[in-house]
Amino acid sequence: MEDLSLRHATREPAGGTEAIAIVGVVASGNLEVLVERVLTDRECLVEIRTTAHGFDDVWTAVVADFVERYSPGGLKFSINDGGARPDTVSLRLAQAVRLMERAR
């Protein structure tokens, strides 16, 4: 198991007021993303647990691209990875932000 922790500063806070959301399943080629609105407005943290070792560079690039595109300020993402491909990771992160955009 490999643990990665990627912290970013964001341009602006994430939209919506939902406090928590979860998307995806830990299955082959899939992952679950738990999002919690627990950080200050301009920071974002992505914590990853994966069984696939040695893909730090790919995770770093995918997460950097995601933060640049969605500016998810205030959100902490906790990922349990089942060996998902980068495109699936991007999709789940985008779905997670979308779920948080709902008003409570």
Partner: protein, 311 residues
């Protein structure tokens, strides 16, 4: 930024396949909109204490969603297994969440329980804890039923309802099943591994489906309702089964024992489900497997329902 409320992210219950949906989607669409409240949600991170030993990934809810909500305006407790996480298998935490829900139901006494099975049985990486969980859950189902609580099982997921899941299902007040929802204890691969392909060819999907699938279980009386593969169909079936008379005790178990003895006497020499269907008096038994859900329900209803409230 738009101020219009965001639409739901998934399709409505009428067009959502139960088989394809996740445990969370099934739960959300089965219950009255917005009524679900989760117990020990993923943010509590109550993960399996065993999987890390095997360097296997955990899931924040350990593959089961438990909570309460309302169905047709009435309060219910609900548990939904995620069949895609480790085949929906029972581990220590997964099992404890269901045991706790059922004990709560027993203590409350007035809230029925819906169990959305989707499981291959015990999670072998935590086998002892999983086996114990199955025993605890079976006891908890019986205790809840003795306290007057209805426990209804809904079965139609990709992992079916196998192993200890099949045993727990057999303890429920009633079951609704779709064609995809297989119910058994030993699964096809287990039988083949232990007894050979001559006994059971696990790659013969038609054989698997007509032996363990929902249609056969409905005709045999092991499942009380057969439903189409939509969340709405399962919701309608759950409402209907909850509306029926409950009750549980020695008298019902005695009747059930007699029913099972009669079943063994009538069909004990049949080598295949097709032989059983013919022996039941179905004229075109070989056509049953390909019947659409609505036509099959008409056929099954014509043969009546074996109402016993135990199996």
């Amino acid at each position: 930024m738009s101020t219009t409320p965001l639409q739901p992210l998934t399709a409505p219950a009428t067009v959502t396949s139960w088989y394809e949906a996740s445990a969370r989607t099934r739960t959300r669409l089965l219950l009255d909109p917005g009524s679900f409240v989760e117990f020990i949600g993923p943010e509590k991170r109550e993960v399996s204490p065993h999987l890390k030993v095997f360097d296997l990934p955990e899931q924040f809810d350990d593959g089961i969603v438990v909570g309460c909500g309302s169905l047709g305006g009435a309060k219910v407790l609900i548990a939904a297994q995620e069949g895609r996480f480790m085949g929906g298998a029972f581990g220590e935490v997964h099992g404890a969440k269901l045991t706790g829900l059922l004990r709560g139901a027993r203590d409350i006494g007035s809230m029925p329980v819906l169990i959305l099975f989707d499981t291959g049985g015990v999670r072998l990486q935590e086998a002892n804890a999983g086996e114990l969980a199955i025993a605890e859950i079976m006891r908890a189902v019986i205790e809840a039923r003795c306290a007057g609580v209805k426990v209804v099982g809904l079965i139609g997921g990709r992992s079916g309802c196998y192993g200890g899941g099949g045993l727990i299902a057999a303890c429920c007040s009633s079951l609704a099943v779709s064609e995809q929802g297989r119910i058994a204890v030993s699964g096809p691969e287990v039988i083949e591994t232990n007894r050979g392909t001559e006994e059971f060819d696990s790659r013969d999907r038609a054989l698997v489906w007509r032996t363990m699938g929902g249609k056969h279980r409905r005709l045999l009386g092991a499942a009380d309702a057969f439903v189409d593969d939509t969340v709405q169909a399962f919701r309608d079936a759950a409402l209907a089964l909850l509306g029926e008379a409950g009750g549980f005790g020695l008298e019902i178990l005695t009747k059930e024992q007699a029913r099972l003895e009669a079943r063994l006497r009538d069909f004990g020499t049949c080598a295949d489900a097709l032989d059983i269907w013919s022996a039941m008096g179905i004229s075109h038994a070989d056509a049953v497997s390909s019947l659409p859900a609505d036509e099959f329900i008409t056929l099954a209803d014509a043969f009546g329902r074996i109402s016993h409230d135990a199996r």
